[in-house]
């Protein structure tokens, strides 16, 4: 029993990172009805810069690098929009392109090395289960970020404008909402959050140039699994995926445990009623 509880706790802590990667996806979806598949790459560039410079200045530079990358994505987004693209899927595919660019740039500039930072966190004992402060810190950050985002999206004037921009861009323009500016801002905020996730991954584990796709897909899963519209669901999605993964690696064979996150996603999606939300792109 104690082992079961331990796996659940560890999984919940691990899920914090997924939630943090899912949050920008959810936010962007709420504002622009598309997904940014470059979040894993923002996380990588943030970690790479932070590990190279080191210290607080490194962390700041890392976040700046992530935001700069996201700014490029926002320019691509605006470019596509100005040229008349309204298909959320096309924006998402373009972000795959940017992700390839960032990943490849990191490989070229830093080589194939892993980014690792030695950092000893104190640990607390909870009923005989030792938990690193770093892990708890990750969860705390994810929770704070997600709750702030939830309040902003659901209950603030800014959030109303964001949601309005997503569902009816023409109507939002007529209501004098700066739609494009808002969406660009959300891309930037997404870069910041993904950069933050990258730093947390760097400090709690380590990261290398192969990470972006995996991180992106983990975040994507966490964002979609309980419904993409709300940041709060990202936290639950991330934690649920983390717990499912931890329990599976604890109790199941390697093959089954590798399958678990995907089986979990399929299970949840198959139980979900048909989507009522007007979703990105639609059928081509």
């Amino acid at each position: 029993m104690i082992h079961f509880v331990e796996y659940v706790l560890r999984g919940a802590l691990a899920g914090a990172i997924y939630a943090l990667l899912a949050a920008p996806m959810s936010l962007l979806f709420a504002t622009a009805r598309t997904i940014d598949f470059a979040v894993g790459a923002y996380a990588l560039i943030a970690a790479a810069v932070a590990a190279t410079i080191g210290g607080i200045a490194g962390a700041e530079a890392g976040l700046a690098a992530a935001m700069l990358s996201a700014a490029i994505m926002s320019l691509i987004f605006v470019g596509l929009k100005r040229l008349g693209c309204e298909d959320g899927i096309v924006f998402a595919l373009a972000s795959f392109g940017l992700s390839a660019v960032i990943e490849s740039f990191v490989l070229w500039y830093w080589g194939a090395r892993s980014f690792i930072v030695s950092y000893v966190a104190a640990s607390w004992s909870l009923g005989g289960i030792r938990l690193d402060q770093q892990g708890l810190f990750n969860l705390l950050i994810a929770a704070i970020v997600v709750v702030i985002l939830h309040v902003v999206v659901r209950h603030s004037s800014l959030g109303r404008m964001m949601r309005a921009s997503a569902v009816n861009a023409v109507g939002a323009t007529l209501a004098a909402i700066p739609v494009e500016g808002l969406q660009m801002g959300v891309y930037l905020a997404g870069g910041l959050l993904a950069g933050l996730a990258g730093l947390l991954v760097l400090y709690s584990a380590g990261i290398d140039f192969t990470a972006p796709l995996g991180l992106t897909l983990s975040g994507f899963g966490a964002a979609i699994v309980f419904g993409v519209g709300s940041p709060l669901r990202c936290l639950f999605g991330g934690i649920a995926m983390g717990v499912a993964q931890a329990l599976a690696s604890g109790y199941l064979s390697e093959a089954l445990s590798a399958m678990t996150p995907f089986l979990f996603i399929l299970l949840v999606l198959s139980m979900r009623p048909a989507d009522t939300e007007a979703l990105a792109g639609g059928r081509p």
Binding site: R160, R163, V167, N168, A172, T173, L174, A176, E277
Partner: protein
Amino acid sequence: MTLTATSLSAHYGRLQVCHNIDLSVSAGEYLIVLGANGAGKSSLLGALAGIVASSGGITLSGRRLDQASARVRAGSGLVLVPEGRGNLFAPLTVEENLAIALRHLPGAERREILSEVLALFPILGERGAQPAGMLSGGEQQMLALAVALGRRPKALLLDEPSQGLAPVVLDELIAAINRLRSLGMALLIAEQNVRFAAALGDRFVLLRGGEIIHEGAPAELADRRGTAFRLMGTH
């Protein structure tokens, strides 16, 4: 004159759909732009509101707006209610839709306009927490008007407000729009429903192939064999 357009043309890319249109509406006046499907009505309204590219002059209360962006025009009081209640955000609640429309105002004024609007359309008060998309067609049109009024428009452009509404709801809507006369703004309504136009307008212009081909008074529309009907060609 509150709203004037001089030699206004609308374009989609290299394709010109409205040609050298001159019109003007004064404060308190209701002008109907009549025309069949594809006559260029929506394009004309879109060009005035700045969501369709245009050339030519547009002034509102003497201020030139033809170079201004759609946002600036909306902010200056030239407000469009697009076809199909396109200024509404379906998943957002009635309250949220109104809050977006009123967000630029200071608190006291906001409350004042809100009560004014709710007095004009009492049904909206009852539906406050419902998503706009769940309202009936007529209620949605009321909300669309209410949202537009929240900007205190000097000139209001309504694109086919009658679209998709049952006759009985139409009468309610006509009554509601007539109640707006007290606000003293210039109103431009694009319509193909002649009955609706006849009941509302002070004046009408007839659009075909993107050009004004006829002007007249609503009384003319009562005659089904009159010039207006002949020119419209469809009814």
